[in-house]
């Protein structure tokens, strides 16, 4: 029940109505955490925190056999997490992220900001260090990773004041950042990836080369995923790409094919380099992003 309630609050349509990003992010995370009640991802790898009674479904390897021997009850050992993870969130603030097909849905940038804020929250909640990079053609702002609450406010205010502008140029930005983020950690890229796939992939590969774990949240508007237009339309390109007049109904198949090919290339490239690739659209609940993060996070620990 609680999960369902949380999921309802995580619905982007609801969340975008909350103007303050920090509250929005906290709600996402709290709701998410409540939903993850029995999630196996809740820190097992760091220092012991407390015992909790075993319920069916828990991994039996976490049962504390010593307690069992003493009390004849099954308890599970839970641990406090360590702040040994350094995460860097790269948020695309180019003009193409401004796109918003439906006023009731967030724009790609809003969605991306919410995702970024939620991740900040979650990561900081687990006492890990997190940094934020906003960029367009070049890096706009780089807030190095840290784990203090004041640091969180700095990042949140950067997110709230982010204005989309300029073109996307992922390749150079990723390469620059790969050079600048020295400490091995987790790199989270939130972008619509509207650049040439090879450049995007080569930048991501650079991170991998530096032994970073990489998650790519590929944020697209729902309209960009479905191309729901029918009447004759003039499409004005963002990022000064010109315009095109066409009958979108007739082009839908071809467009989706192109998009699929693009996403396929990215997906394939990510898989090759063991990068988590998470396609998102702005109508999807935000916990998808968080779940993916946690999966990667635990994977890092497990590996």
């Amino acid at each position: 029940m609680a999960g369902e309630v949380g999921r309802k609050y995580l619905d982007p349509k609801t969340l975008t109505k909350i103007s303050r990003l920090d509250i929005r992010a906290r709600l996402v995370v709290e709701g998410f955490v409540t939903g993850l009640h029995r999630s196996p991802y809740h820190g097992f790898s760091v220092e012991f925190a407390e015992h909790r009674e075993y319920v069916p479904g828990d991994d039996i390897k976490h049962i504390d056999w010593k307690v069992y021997a003493r009390s004849d009850r099954y308890y599970i050992k839970q641990y406090e997490e360590e702040t040994n993870l350094t995460a860097t969130i790269l948020l695309d603030g180019s003009e193409s992220m401004r796109y918003q097909s439906d006023p009731s849905l967030p724009s790609k940038l809003d969605y991306g900001c919410t995702v970024a804020a939620s991740l900040l929250y979650l990561i900081l909640r687990q006492r890990d260090a997190v940094g934020l990079v906003t960029f367009d053609e070049e890096i706009r702002k780089f807030i190095p990773p840290a784990s203090s609450p004041s640091h969180r406010n700095l990042m949140l205010s950067e997110l709230e004041n982010l204005v989309p502008r300029e073109r996307t140029s992922l390749g150079p930005v990723l390469h620059t950042m790969a050079d600048r983020v020295k400490r091995k950690g987790l790199v989270i890229l939130i972008s619509d990836l509207l650049d040439e796939p090879e450049k995007v992939l080569s930048g991501l590969r650079h991170f991998r080369h530096r032994r970073h774990e990489v998650i790519v949240f590929h944020v697209l508007d729902v309209a960009e995923r479905t191309f729901p237009f029918n009447a004759m339309t003039r499409f004005e390109g963002l990022e000064a790409l010109g315009h095109v007049i066409c009958d979108p109904g007739a082009l839908r198949a071809a467009y989706l094919e192109e998009l699929e090919q693009f996403m396929g290339e990215i997906r394939h490239g990510c898989r090759t380099d063991r990068i988590d690739y998470v396609p998102l659209d702005t109508s999807q609940p935000l916990d998808v992003a968080l779940t993916s993060y946690l999966a990667t996070r635990s994977g890092m620990k497990l590996s």
Binding site: S96, F229, M232, L238, C246, D247, A250, L251, R252, L259
Partner: protein, 814 residues
């Protein structure tokens, strides 16, 4: 290929709609911002060509649908008849119904069973036997164009047949008329009717066969006016028309349906009139009737009744009126007989009505004939002596006066009242006459001059010329008799005026000389008269064998050579020819010789005669001869007949009279023989204090449906007496009689074979009762294949393919 409704092809213009939508859609779009333009651009690049093709294909199909539909509505069909089963054949039928008065011949036992009714019911049977898809045009004919119920072929569907059957009962369109027949005229009009069946109403171009058409001619097959006794066409050009136009170019098959009696027997009263040109009050006159037996057998025991001034037509028809005289007759086969005339003396001047009735036969309408006699108190003649003399018989007009005023017998006055005057007195006399004739107060209650004879008057002053013109314009007449004193130059200048003046011809020179010279010179050329215009009433008197000698007896020694105006208004009743001893008796044709008498109508009603030799014995030896006596009396009386109003008209003619201002009433009633009263509105004559009264009104171009218009188109519709009455007391009731065309009584027939041979085409002849079998047995006419069902199927197929293609293209787009 041809089209039944070619104008519906315009519906094809609807293809503009999809094209417009197609073009408009390219300029009507909404604008959205778009981030992922790269993919879109790539997609566009890949798909544009295919999409454009798809769109154009759909557009093409949609246009084709509209075009095919419009063409289907226009109903294309094969130009040439195709072999189809008889049930599918559509027929193009023209029905011509003879409505001339000979069709009123009673063919059955009751009076209603006439040839005309037989023709009408045969026409109804033809209409009834037509099927959906057949087309028909029905037309009544006689000797004038008839009001047509329809000028375009009509479809013989249920509603069309019903309408046609109703129209056939309508006397307005198909009722019997009192007119003659002109089958040759209707044959000449036939191509115009047939061509309306052709696509677009035009003749098929060369190389394309015409539609087959059947022309049913419902008539009594009268020979007169069409074929001569040997079976030759009276109008030979009809043969070309029939072969080339009707058969070859328009695909017509003529079917003759003889609705008349097998052995018709008919007698007609072909003429009724008075022997005297002008009838005087208190003078005996002779009412003459001619009776023609058109049949091949002698017919006896006939009675002819004369009626005078019987008021009501009803009394005549009902036999209640007392005849003035009854004559028994026997008429040999083919003979035309002048019945014993009615001698009658009218005691009052004015208009009197005379009718005759011949004992009945099967065609009653021509057994009656009506005539209106204008009885005159006097005919007043003014003789102007251009060479007066105190000695007896030496004056120019002395002989004339004698001839004209001679009494028929001692106890009756002479009809002609003549007076002589000199040239100097002419002006005074004329102005009095003009004033009297135009209704001025000076001459109230007194008859004005009728004829002025100018004998050897040297010249006229311009004032006198003008007065004389006014006088003639009022319906009076003038005769110029010439002589040695005449100044030809002055005559030409003031009286001929290059054809615009009174004189009927220009004077050129004097031919020959005086009789005195001639008597001294034995070799002097003498000229002899002959008739120049046999139709002229006075010249016509001298065409009989025993009268011709009167022309030849007198010699003429001198006369003016005259040059006739080119306008053709002048006629030449008498000519002169030079005699050569050897061939005095040789026949002379009408065109030969020089004019002796030239006549022209002048103004509204008057006539002018130009006697080119002298009125006395100066230039000829006419004076003692019978010719001179007859000619001058008859010619003066003929000219004295007022040209208008004419009181004896023919069916189809028009009554015209003029009424003076004080007689005017806003409406004048015309009472027809059928006792109908029809109002006529007098029309003002420009520039004169006169009103013109016409009945029926001038022919109208508009196709009106009411009775009055029908009358207008056909002229005077029926024979009998008409009375013209007005509420104005000063207006004297006017009468006029309308007579039938007597030739129409000739019921001698032609057969279909005979006509076919004359025309050089195949003509089928069937009995009226065979009409329906002839239509249904073999169809008789070819059918034409129509293509609209195929076109509709094409439209359907195109619609289906459009839907399928749109769905396929659409699904790919979804």
């Amino acid at each position: 290929m041809e089209f039944v409704n070619p104008f519906l092809m315009l519906g094809g213009l609807a293809i503009a709609a999809p094209i417009a939508i197609f073009l408009l859609s390219r300029f009507r779009y909404r604008t959205v911002e778009w981030a992922a333009l790269t993919f879109l651009l790539r997609a566009v690049k890949k798909q544009q060509r295919r999409l454009r093709l798809e769109n154009l294909l759909l557009l093409l199909i949609r246009c084709l649908i509209l075009i095919a539909f419009a063409v289907a509505l226009a109903r294309p069909r094969a130009v040439s008849p195709v072999e189809v089963s008889p049930d599918e054949k559509t027929q193009n039928v023209v029905v011509l119904i003879d409505t001339s008065y000979s069709m009123s011949y009673q063919v059955g036992s009751s009076a209603e069973e006439t040839a005309h009714e037989r023709a009408r019911s045969a026409a109804k049977e033809i209409v009834g036997a037509l099927k959906d898809g057949d087309r028909v045009l029905i037309r009544a004919f006689d000797d004038v164009a008839r009001l047509e119920a329809s000028t375009v072929p009509r479809n013989a569907n249920d509603a069309g047949r019903k309408e046609l059957l109703q129209e056939l009962d309508d006397d307005l369109f198909y009722g019997a008329r009192a007119r003659g027949t002109s089958l040759s005229q209707v044959l000449q009009q036939l191509p115009g009717m047939l061509v309306r069946f052709e696509p677009n109403g035009i003749r098929p171009p060369e190389g394309r066969p015409p539609l087959a058409k059947t022309v049913f001619v419902l008539t009594d097959a009268q020979r007169q006016g069409l074929l001569d006794e040997e079976g030759k066409l009276l109008e030979p050009k009809l043969a070309d028309l029939a072969k080339k136009d009707l058969e070859t170019e328009l695909g017509a098959t003529l079917v003759l349906i003889d609705c008349g009696a097998d052995q018709p027997r008919n007698l007609s009263v072909t003429r009724l009139g008075t022997r005297e040109a002008v009838v005087g009050r208190g003078l005996p006159c002779h009412v003459e009737a001619r009776v023609k037996n058109w049949s091949n057998e002698d017919i006896g025991d006939l009675t002819l009744k004369y009626f005078v001034d019987v008021d009501e037509e009803v009394d005549l028809e009902g036999g209640e009126a007392e005849p003035q005289k009854i004559v028994s007759l026997q008429v040999a086969a083919g003979e035309e007989l002048l019945a014993e005339p009615l001698s009658y003396t009218f005691e009052t001047p004015g208009l009197h009505r005379v009718a005759v009735h011949l004992s009945s036969d099967a065609l009653t309408v021509d057994n009656w004939r009506h005539y209106v006699v204008d009885v005159r108190e006097h005919v007043r003649v003014l003789l102007v002596d251009g060479e007066p003399s105190n000695e007896d018989w030496e004056g120019e007009t002395d002989f004339l006066y004698e001839y004209l005023t001679i009494s028929v017998s001692d106890d009756v006055q002479s009809l002609i009242s003549a007076e002589t005057c000199t040239e100097a007195e002419l002006g005074q006399k004329l102005s009095e006459a003009v004033s009297a004739a135009s209704g001025g107060e000076a001459a109230q209650g007194q008859e004005s001059l009728d004829v002025v004879v100018l004998a050897n008057v040297p010249s006229l002053s311009p004032e006198d010329s003008a007065l004389l013109e006014d006088f003639v314009k009022l319906g009076r007449s003038v005769i110029f008799a010439l002589g040695s004193r005449v100044d030809a130059k002055a005559y030409n200048e003031f009286l001929y005026r290059e054809g615009r003046g009174l004189l009927p011809a220009e004077l050129v020179r004097v031919v020959g000389g005086t009789s005195a010279d001639a008597s001294l010179d034995e070799d002097a050329p003498a000229w002899v008269m002959h008739v120049g215009d046999r139709e002229h009433p006075v010249a016509g008197l001298f065409t009989d064998e025993d009268m011709v000698t009167h022309l030849r007896d007198p010699s003429i020694f001198g006369f003016f050579e005259a040059k006739l105006p080119e306008s053709g208004v002048s006629t030449v009743p008498f000519r002169v020819n030079q005699t050569v001893d050897d061939n005095v008796g040789a026949p002379v044709t009408e065109e030969q010789g020089l004019p002796l008498l030239v006549e022209r109508p002048f103004g509204r009603q008057g006539r002018v005669g130009l006697w080119l030799t002298s009125a006395d014995a100066d230039w000829n030896r006419l004076v003692p001869y019978v010719f001179n006596y007859i000619f001058w009396r008859e010619y003066v009386l003929y000219l004295a007949q007022r040209a208008r109003p004419e009181h004896n008209l023919d069916v189809g003619g028009q009554y015209v009279s003029f009424i003076r201002l004080e007689e005017f009433a806003s409406k004048v009633q015309v009472e027809t023989p059928e006792d109908e009263e029809i109002s006529v509105v007098p029309e003002k004559v420009d520039g004169e204090e006169l009103y013109r009264l016409t009945f029926p009104k001038e022919q109208l171009d508009t196709e009106g449906g009411d009775e009055a218009d029908t009358l207008n188109r056909d002229g005077l519709p029926e024979p009998g007496f008409y009375a013209v009455k007005s509420s104005n007391e000063k207006f004297q009731t006017d009468y006029f009689a309308v007579a039938l065309d007597g030739r129409e009584g000739n019921l001698a027939k032609f057969s279909g074979q005979e006509l076919g041979e004359a025309l050089g085409v195949q003509i089928r002849e069937i009995r009226p009762e065979e009409v329906v079998p002839s239509l249904t047995a073999d169809g008789g006419v070819g059918g034409q294949r129509e293509y609209w069902p195929e076109l509709l199927a094409l439209v359907l197929a195109l619609l289906v393919s459009e839907s399928i293609l749109a769905a396929i293209f659409g699904r790919r787009r979804r």
